[in-house]
């Protein structure tokens, strides 16, 4: 589950937001796939996701799973980035979770995501923070 090998192999996506663009239809896949889910093509070029987007939907998790109990409540959103790719991320730096709303502009920032897993690894990735509209 939360192993050093997994953390390591996910560095390109977690740390650098690397995605792949289908050479045939242009669909962008994050994480990368071996076959385009839109057109079935198998050739891709590497792209980096933009960091600006808006909240599509969100929730405030008050009963978090193992590994996140220290961070409760946990604000989590589905964010649509400016290139149309949707990713799930925590919303960081929220003093009042009730102030989050659909359509809120956000910016992705590099953050520590979860407390040490069973292997003692610290998991980093991106969280969304409120951006000026």
């Amino acid at each position: 589950m939360f192993s050093p090998a997994r953390a390591w192999r996910e560095f390109p996506q977690r740390y650098r937001l690397e995605a792949e663009k289908c050479a045939s239809c242009g669909a962008i896949h994050y994480p990368p796939r071996l076959v385009c889910a839109e057109c079935g093509a198998r050739e891709f070029t590497a792209v980096v996701l933009p960091r600006d987007g808006k909240v599509v939907t969100f929730t405030i998790v008050r009963v978090p799973p193992a590994g996140f109990t220290e961070q409760s409540p946990l604000s989590i959103a589905l964010v649509e980035l400016s290139n149309g790719v949707r990713i799930m991320v925590q919303i960081g730096d929220v003093e009042d979770p009730e102030s989050i709303e659909i359509g809120m502009p956000v910016r992705l920032e590099f953050r520590r995501v979860s407390s040490d897993g069973e292997a003692g690894v610290i998991f980093y990735g991106h969280k969304a923070v409120r951006a000026a509209s």
Binding site: T59, V63, Q90, G125
Partner: protein
């Protein structure tokens, strides 16, 4: 294909059954179904179970459970599709009998969920989402359905009160079911006053953590008539199975459950039926919003009309199409792998006319809809008395 009948049903009471291990829960339901069918041997056992490994530390249920019944040697297969594992076990047994590969199949579902604490059960259930790209960020199942609920409410005007009314209805039905985990009357104020779990969903919008098992015996219609000459056979006339993207990030619409729609369409096509033909349905109300979205996806109501339907009593006992007469996952309980089989138990019981105080008068055609994850998979069966 051969016509397939349900010839035996059995289930445990659902609840926090701390005294009972998984194998005994399972055997109790299996024996009840075999006794109901009048059989002491079968050609195959199918087992729906989501995560006995994470919940109890036990895998290899096919061997464990065939052995538990004194049937070591009999073919057995565990199938998994998260919370739709039970429905998938039914589908697998149906396919075996329909194809002629087996003549009698003991279809079972089981989950033992209370051997771990709340954080670990939340984690185990969360593995039905995309563990690497959703679970990584700490999202939970209530959280995913909360996200869907928020979109449904914004897009269609579904109200917080309408969500609560699903719980009120299903708890009222559960009062009439001796197998239900909760015999508890709740009102809208009670739901709206319960603890927030994942905004906007509250504790009483959520199905519980449950131990339990259910079983049904499937065979050919001819064999069913031989075994039970005095009972009209309950036949599975339609079976539909479908998937959707596992992550909600990749869905075209967050206000609809496409796997449920597809599985429903496939079951309707096989049975030659339409939504108007269905007299009652058990649908997968793991959360209140899920029942509303399922009743829309199955075509009982137009998109966006699932909320008004429950508000107007259309899905209550005595309504246009009673939904979750058993109490549903909400009140009966949700031992995830057992749920899809328990739904077929309820529909069969209703079509036999043996559902007691919650009997739907004149019920001849029923539906069972089971769902995995946040709608990433769904299984739909249509059953009819012939």
């Amino acid at each position: 294909m051969r016509d397939v009948a349900v010839v035996g049903i059995g289930m445990t009471s659902f609840g926090e059954l701390w005294r009972t291990p998984l194998r005994s829960l399972w055997a109790e339901a299996a024996l009840a179904a075999l006794d109901d069918a009048g059989l002491d041997s079968v050609d195959l056992i199918t087992i729906g179970c989501m995560s006995s490994g994470l919940f109890t530390g036990q895998e290899h249920l096919a061997s464990l459970l065939a052995d538990e019944l004194g049937m070591a040697g009999v073919p057995a297969a565990r199938v998994e599709s998260a919370c739709a594992s039970g429905g998938l076990a039914v589908r697998t047994g149906f396919a075996e009998v329909a194809s002629g590969l087996s003549d009698t199949v003991l279809v079972t579902g089981v989950e033992k969920m209370t051997d771990v604490d709340g954080a670990d059960s939340t984690y185990a259930l969360g593995t039905a989402a995309d563990a690497e790209w959703e679970g990584f960020h700490g999202i939970t199942f209530p959280g995913l359905y909360a996200m869907l609920a928020r979109v449904h409410m914004q897009q269609y005007g579904t109200t917080r009160e309408q969500l609560a009314m699903v719980a009120v209805k299903n708890h009222a039905n559960g009062l009439l079911n001796r197998h239900a985990q909760y015999h508890l009357k709740v009102d809208v104020e009670g739901v709206l006053g319960s603890t927030l779990v994942a905004d906007p969903l509250r504790l009483f919008d959520c199905s519980p953590v449950t131990d339990g098992a259910a079983a049904v015996v499937l065979t050919t219609v001819e064999r069913a008539r031989e075994l039970q000459p005095d009972r009209p056979p309950v036949v599975i006339t339609g079976s539909g199975l479908a998937t959707d993207t596992i992550t909600i990030a990749n869905r075209g619409s967050l206000a609809a459950l496409n796997a449920v729609k597809l599985a429903g369409e496939r079951a309707y096509a096989m049975a030659g039926r339409t939504p108007e033909d269905i007299h009652l349905a058990e649908v997968h109300d793991c959360f209140t919003i899920a029942e509303i979205m399922a009743t829309e996806a199955l075509g009982f109501f137009e998109p966006g009309q699932g909320g008004p339907a429950v508000e107007n009593g259309l899905t209550a006992l005595g309504g246009k199409i009673p939904v979750n007469t058993s109490g549903g996952l909400k009140s009966k309980g949700h031992p995830v792998g057992a749920t899809g089989v328990a739904q077929v138990f309820e529909i069969t019981n209703q079509l036999r006319g043996e559902a007691g105080q919650r009997q739907v008068e004149g019920a001849r055609i029923g539906m069972a809809q089971n769902m995995g994850g946040s709608g990433g998979s769904s299984v739909v069966h249509i059953l009819e008395v012939v």
